[in-house]
C-alpha cells in the first residue's frame, strides 16, 4: 500500500474499522452456520464462534494497528486521553507542570549564563592557543607587564607565535557637545593578529606601526563606529581629535569582537608614543597576550617565561628584582572571574531541579496509587500491560512536554530578568553576556533535562505497573492497606527533598551571612555623605606646577559649594584595589630579600580628614607640604607601621624608595583604610602629598552635609566653570561605589540568587512532606478509626502522625546538614568571614525547616485526629 493511501487511512479510520467489523462478523456467522450444520443449537453455535474468536475489540485494535499511520492516530488518541485525564485533576496537573517549569527554568537560565561566560569559545580564532602573560611578585600575583620587559620577551621567547600587549587609556573626545571622556586602549601592532581578529572595515595595524614616532593611528570598536560616526563607511582615513592629538582611523573592529578585560574600550590606538611609564623598565602598566606555537603547552611556555624573567632579573636587578613571569589561559582572564559564582549558582539550580523532579515523581506515584482500580478494571477488560504502559508513558510525556514549554518560557524570562539586574558598568566588563540566549549547548542542556524528566515521569509509573498483580488490585479495591509500597518509596523521596532543601538553605544562609559581614567590614573611614568624581587632566596642563594649580583651584571651588563640608584629592578612591605598589624600604637598612611593594596614594592635605580616617599617631600633612620643594613626608597606615617597624614608633622614621637616594619622613599613622575590595585583607599602604608626577587624572572626594547624590550635578558644573575642557567621569557617592564594588556585587548576587533557589526549595520540600503525610493519613483512615474505636485518644493519633513526619524530618535534615557542610566547603571562595560549618547558620536552617515541617504535618495530623471512628469503619 502506498504512503499516500496509508496517510488517507488516517482520515478513514472509521471506515477501516467498519470494514474490519464486517469482516469479523462474516467470519463469526460462517462459523456459526457450520456449527449449526454440525448439530449444535443456535445459542451454542454462536457462543462457540465467539469464544474461538477471543476478545474482539483487542483484535480489532491490533488489526488496525497493522497500519503505521493508524498507529500514529491511536497515539494521538492516547495523548487526548492523557490530556483529559490531566484536566480531570487540574490541581495535580498544574502543580506538576509549574514545579517542573520552575526547576527547568532556573537551571536552563543559569546554564545559559554558564554557556555564555565559560563554554562559548571566545570570538578569536583558535582561542585555546591564546594565553595571557603577567609579571608576578608576592604582593601582586598577576601583575602588569613593563613595556621594556615586554620587548625583551618578544625577542627571547620561543614558545609563542607572537606576544603582544595592551594597556588602559582614556581619551577626551572633542565633539560638538563639548568634551566627552571615553574609554580606550593602547595595543602593540600585532595585538589583533595575535587574537586572530580582522577589522570588518579598513585594515589592521601594520607591523612597526607601534614604533616610537610612527604616525598616530587607531582602530575603533563597532559600538564607537555606530555612536560617533553613525555607521558611515567612509570613516576609514578620517582624523579624530582625542586629548588634543590627531589620530587617523584605519579601521573598524567587527561587531562580535569583545575583550572583556577592556570591555568598554571604544578607541584602540597603536602603542607608538611611549609615555613616561613605558620609558622606565620598573614601571608596569601593560597586560600581555600571546598565541602559543602549535604543540607547546601552557606549562612549557610558563617554564620558558620563568627562565627569561630570571635572566632579565639578573640583567636589570634594580628594576626587575623579584619579578617572575606567569602564563595563564586567556579564557581564565575572560569570564574566569565569575566562574566560582556561576558554578555555585549552577549547583543551586541543579538541586532545585532535583527537588522539582522528586516532587513531580511523588505526585505521579500518588496518582498512580489512586488509579490502581481503574487500571485493574481496564486490564480485566482486555487492555494488555503494554497498552496500559503506553497510556502511562503518554501521560508522563504530555506532562513533560507542557512542563518543558513552560520551563523554556520561564528560562527566557529569568535570563532577561537577571540580565536586567546587572548594572551597565558591570555589563561592560562582561561583554560575552551579550551573546546570552538559547545557543546550541543551551538547547542540548534543555533537551537533556526534558529527556531525563520524560524517562523519570513516563517510565517510573509504567515500570511499577509491570510488577503489579492486576487481579490482586481489583480485589483489593479501596481497602486501606493499599499504598504500602508507595508509602515506603514516597517517604524516601521526601527525605531527599528535605535534605536538598537543607543544602540550599545552608548555602543561602552562609552567602547571606558573608554578605552581611562584608557590608559591615570597617572600611577605616566614614562612608556616608561622601561623593567622588574622576577628573582627567587635559593635555594643556603640561607641567606639574600647572596640574598642582588646577588641583588647588578645584579644591577651593568645590569646597565653596553649598553643602560641601570638606574636599580632598586622591589618585584613587578607597574600596577599589591594592594596586599601584612602589618598592619601598626603611632608610639606612639593607635591601630586604623579598620585595616590599606598598601601594601609594597621592593625596591632597584635605583628603584624609575628608574621609574621616582615624589618625592613630602623629599628624596629617599641611597644605604647605603639597610642594615638591619641601622635604618629602608620608602618612602610613597601621599595617605598614607594624610591618616595617614592629614594636617601634613609626613616626619620625625615614623610608626610602628602592633605587633612589631620596628619603621620606613618616609624619603620621592612620588606621587601615580599605583601599582594596571589601573581602581583601588589609595591607600596608602609604599616603604622600599630591605634589608631583601626576597620573593624568585624579579623584575629587567631598564630604557633604546634604545627601551626596544630590550634589553630584552641581559638582560637575562647578568643575566645568574652572575649565570647560576638563573631562569629568564616574560621578558617584562612596556608598554607591562600595555597594557596586566587585566583591559586594558578587556576594550580593550569589546570596540573592541562591536565596531565591532556597526559598523555592523550602516551599517544594514542605509541600512534598505535606503530600506524603496527608496521603498516608488518607490511606490509614480505617486503621485510625479502628484504633479510636478501641480506645485510642486523639493525642495518641496526633502522636502517631507527627511521629512519622518527625522521623522523616529528622533524617532529612540530618542528612541535609552533612551534605550541606560538605558542599559549602566547595564554595569556600565565595564565603567571607564565616566557615562552611557555621553553627549559627546550620542550627537556624534546621530550626526553620523543622518549624515548616511541623506545620506541614500538623494539618494532616489534625485531620487524622478528627476522624469519626464510626464513619471511618462504616465507609468500608
Amino acid at each position: 500500500m502506498s504512503i499516500a493511501s496509508r496517510m488517507m487511512n488516517l482520515f478513514r479510520r472509521a471506515k477501516v474499522q467498519r470494514e474490519i467489523d464486517r469482516e469479523l462478523a462474516a467470519h463469526i456467522e460462517m462459523r456459526t452456520e457450520d456449527n449449526r450444520t454440525a448439530g449444535m443449537s443456535l445459542q451454542e453455535a454462536r457462543h462457540d464462534a465467539l469464544l474461538r474468536f477471543g476478545n474482539r475489540s483487542v483484535m480489532r485494535e491490533r488489526a488496525t494497528e497493522a497500519d503505521a499511520a493508524l498507529w500514529l492516530e491511536s497515539l494521538w488518541n492516547d495523548v487526548r486521553y492523557a490530556c483529559r485525564q490531566l484536566l480531570r485533576n487540574p490541581g495535580f496537573a498544574l502543580t506538576a507542570i509549574v514545579v517542573l517549569a520552575l526547576g527547568m527554568g532556573a537551571s536552563v537560565a543559569i546554564f545559559a549564563f554558564v554557556d555564555a561566560a565559560l563554554i562559548k569559545p571566545l570570538p578569536y580564532s583558535d582561542p585555546a592557543r591564546l594565553v595571557s602573560l603577567y609579571e608576578t611578585v608576592p604582593s601582586c600575583l598577576l601583575c602588569n607587564v613593563s613595556y621594556q620587559n615586554f620587548r625583551d620577551w618578544q625577542r627571547a621567547a620561543r614558545s609563542f607565535r607572537s606576544i603582544d600587549v595592551w594597556g588602559y587609556a582614556r581619551y577626551a573626545l572633542h565633539s560638538a557637545g563639548g568634551i566627552e571622556p571615553t574609554e580606550g586602549a593602547r595595543v602593540s601592532d600585532g595585538f589583533f593578529r595575535t587574537l586572530g581578529v580582522t577589522p570588518m572595515l579598513g585594515r589592521d595595524f601594520y607591523p612597526g606601526e607601534d614604533a616610537p614616532g610612527a604616525p598616530r593611528t587607531m582602530l575603533i570598536s563597532y559600538a564607537a563606529w555606530q555612536k560617533h560616526f553613525s555607521g558611515s563607511r567612509d570613516v576609514v582615513g578620517k582624523t579624530i581629535h582625542l586629548d588634543d592629538l590627531n589620530y587617523t582611523i584605519i579601521g573598524v573592529l567587527p561587531r562580535e569582537f569583545h575583550f572583556s578585560q577592556r570591555g568598554d574600550a571604544e578607541f584602540w590606538a597603536a602603542l607608538n608614543d611611549p609615555d613616561g611609564c613605558q620609558k622606565r623598565r620598573g614601571c608596569h602598566s601593560l597586560f600581555g597576550v600571546a598565541r602559543l606555537k602549535d604543540g607547546v603547552t601552557v606549562a612549557a611556555a610558563a617554564a620558558e617565561m620563568t627562565t627569561i624573567a630570571a635572566q632579565l632579573e639578573k640583567q636589570y636587578p634594580e628594576s626587575n628584582r623579584g619579578f617572575g613571569a606567569v602564563v595563564r589561559r586567556l579564557s581564565e582572564a575572560e569570564g574566569g572571574q565569575i566562574r566560582p559564582i556561576l558554578l555555585v549558582l549552577l549547583s543551586g539550580a541543579g538541586l532545585l531541579l532535583l527537588i522539582a523532579f522528586v516532587n513531580v515523581v511523588s505526585l505521579l506515584l500518588v496518582r498512580s496509587e489512586g488509579r490502581r482500580q481503574e487500571i485493574a478494571v481496564r486490564g480485566a477488560l482486555g487492555a494488555t500491560t503494554a497498552r496500559l504502559m503506553r497510556q502511562f508513558m503518554t501521560e508522563g510525556l504530555v506532562l513533560v512536554a507542557a512542563g518543558t514549554s513552560l520551563g523554556l518560557g520561564t528560562a527566557y524570562s529569568v535570563m532577561r530578568l537577571l540580565l536586567g539586574l546587572i548594572p551597565a558598568n558591570r555589563m561592560q566588563a562582561m561583554p560575552y553576556l551579550n551573546g546570552l540566549g538559547f545557543s546550541a549547548p543551551v538547547w542540548a542542556f534543555a533537551v537533556g533535562i526534558a529527556v531525563l524528566a520524560a524517562m523519570l515521569f513516563a517510565v517510573a509509573p509504567a515500570l511499577r505497573l509491570r510488577a503489579r498483580e492486576l487481579r490482586g488490585d481489583l480485589a483489593e479495591g479501596s481497602r486501606g492497606s493499599a499504598g504500602k509500597t508507595w508509602r515506603r518509596l514516597g517517604s524516601k523521596l521526601v527525605m531527599v527533598e528535605l535534605a536538598t532543601a537543607v543544602v540550599l538553605l545552608v548555602g543561602a544562609g552562609l552567602l547571606g551571612k558573608s554578605l552581611y559581614l562584608l557590608l559591615h567590614v570597617n572600611p577605616g573611614f566614614e562612608p556616608d555623605n561622601l561623593a567622588s568624581v574622576l577628573v582627567s587632566v587635559p593635555k594643556s596642563y603640561a607641567t606639574d606646577a600647572q596640574v598642582m594649580a588646577l588641583e588647588r583651584v578645584i579644591e577651593s571651588r568645590v569646597g565653596a559649594l553649598p553643602g560641601v563640608k570638606s574636599v580632598g584629592i586622591s589618585s584613587s578612591t578607597p574600596v577599589r584595589s591594592w594596586d599601584g605598589g612602589t618598592y619601598i624600604m626603611v632608610a639606612g637598612k639593607p635591601m630586604p630579600k623579598e620585595r616590599n611593594d606598598v601601594p601609594e596614594r597621592d593625596v591632597s592635605a584635605g583628603y584624609l580628614p575628608t574621609l574621616d580616617a582615624k589618625l592613630l599617631r602623629g599628624r596629617y600633612f599641611t597644605e604647605a607640604e603639597d610642594d615638591p620643594a619641601k622635604p618629602r613626608v608620608v602618612v602610613i597606615n597601621e599595617s605598614m607601621a607594624k610591618q616595617f617597624f614592629p614594636g617601634e614608633d613609626a613616626v619620625g622614621k625615614q623610608l626610602a624608595y628602592a633605587g633612589s637616594k631620596q628619603t621620606v619622613q613618616i609624619i603620621g599613622v592612620v588606621e587601615d583604610i580599605k583601599e582594596g575590595q571589601l573581602d581583601s585583607p588589609n595591607r600596608a599602604a602609604m599616603y604622600v602629598p599630591f605634589n608631583q608626577d601626576s597620573w593624568g587624572s585624579f579623584n575629587v572626594v567631598l564630604r557633604t552635609s546634604l545627601s551626596p547624590g544630590a550634589l553630584l550635578p552641581s559638582l560637575a558644573s562647578s568643575l566645568h566653570e574652572v575649565d570647560a575642557e576638563i573631562p569629568v567621569s564616574e560621578p558617584t557617592t562612596i556608598r554607591e561605589a562600595i555597594r557596586d564594588s566587585n566583591a559586594a556585587y558578587l556576594h550580593r548576587a550569589s546570596a540573592w540568587l541562591v536565596g531565591g533557589f532556597a526559598g523555592v526549595a523550602l516551599l517544594l520540600a514542605v509541600v512534598g512532606l505535606y503530600g506524603v503525610i496527608a496521603y498516608s493519613v488518607s490511606q490509614r483512615t480505617r486503621e485510625i478509626g479502628v484504633r479510636m474505636a478501641l480506645g485510642a485518644q486523639r493525642g495518641t493519633v496526633y502522636g502517631l502522625v507527627l511521629k512519622q513526619a518527625g522521623w522523616l524530618t529528622v533524617v532529612g535534615i540530618g542528612a541535609g546538614l552533612v551534605c550541606a557542610v560538605a558542599l559549602a566547603t566547595l564554595m569556600r571562595s565565595l564565603l567571607f568571614g564565616t566557615q562552611a560549618w557555621d553553627a549559627m547558620t546550620l542550627s537556624a536552617v534546621a530550626a526553620v525547616l523543622a518549624v515548616f515541617a511541623l506545620l506541614a504535618s500538623y494539618i494532616p495530623a489534625r485531620r487524622a485526629a478528627s476522624v469519626n471512628p464510626v464513619e471511618a469503619l462504616r465507609a468500608e
Partner: protein, 108 residues
C-alpha cells in the same frame, strides 16, 4: 497449534493456503489449514486477522469483497507477486529450519 505461534509460520501457512487454493476469505483459510494438516494445526482466529492486515500492508496479499458459495458477502484475499516471492523465501527458510532441527535431533 501452540498458542505462542511463531508469527513467521502463521504467515507461511496463510500464504501457502492462498497459493494452493486461490482466493480465500479468512474463515476459509482457518478451515483449510485445519483440514490440510489433518487437524494437527489450528489457527487461533484472534491472530489471523491482524496477520492478514499486516500482510496486506506489506503488499503480499490484496483483498476484495465478494460473495461466498453460500451467497454471503466476505472479504477475499489473493496472493500478489510480491507475496509469491515472500512465500518462496519463507518456504526455503522453513525447510532450512526443519533440516537443522532434524539434524540436531539425529545427532548422536
Amino acid at each position: 497449534m501452540a498458542k505462542n505461534d511463531l508469527q513467521g509460520s502463521l504467515d507461511l501457512l496463510v500464504l501457502k493456503t492462498l497459493a494452493q487454493m486461490g482466493d480465500m476469505h479468512g474463515y476459509g483459510i482457518v478451515l483449510h489449514i485445519q483440514r490440510a494438516s489433518d487437524d494437527l494445526l489450528s489457527v487461533e482466529e484472534g491472530s489471523l486477522y491482524p496477520a492478514l492486515h499486516r500482510m496486506e500492508q506489506s503488499g503480499w496479499v490484496s483483498s476484495k469483497w465478494a460473495l461466498t458459495d453460500t451467497k454471503r458477502k466476505a472479504k477475499f484475499y489473493k496472493l500478489t507477486p510480491v507475496g509469491r516471492k515472500q512465500l518462496k523465501d519463507a518456504e526455503e527458510s522453513f525447510e532450512q529450519l526443519v533440516k537443522g532441527v532434524r539434524a540436531m535431533l539425529r545427532y548422536a
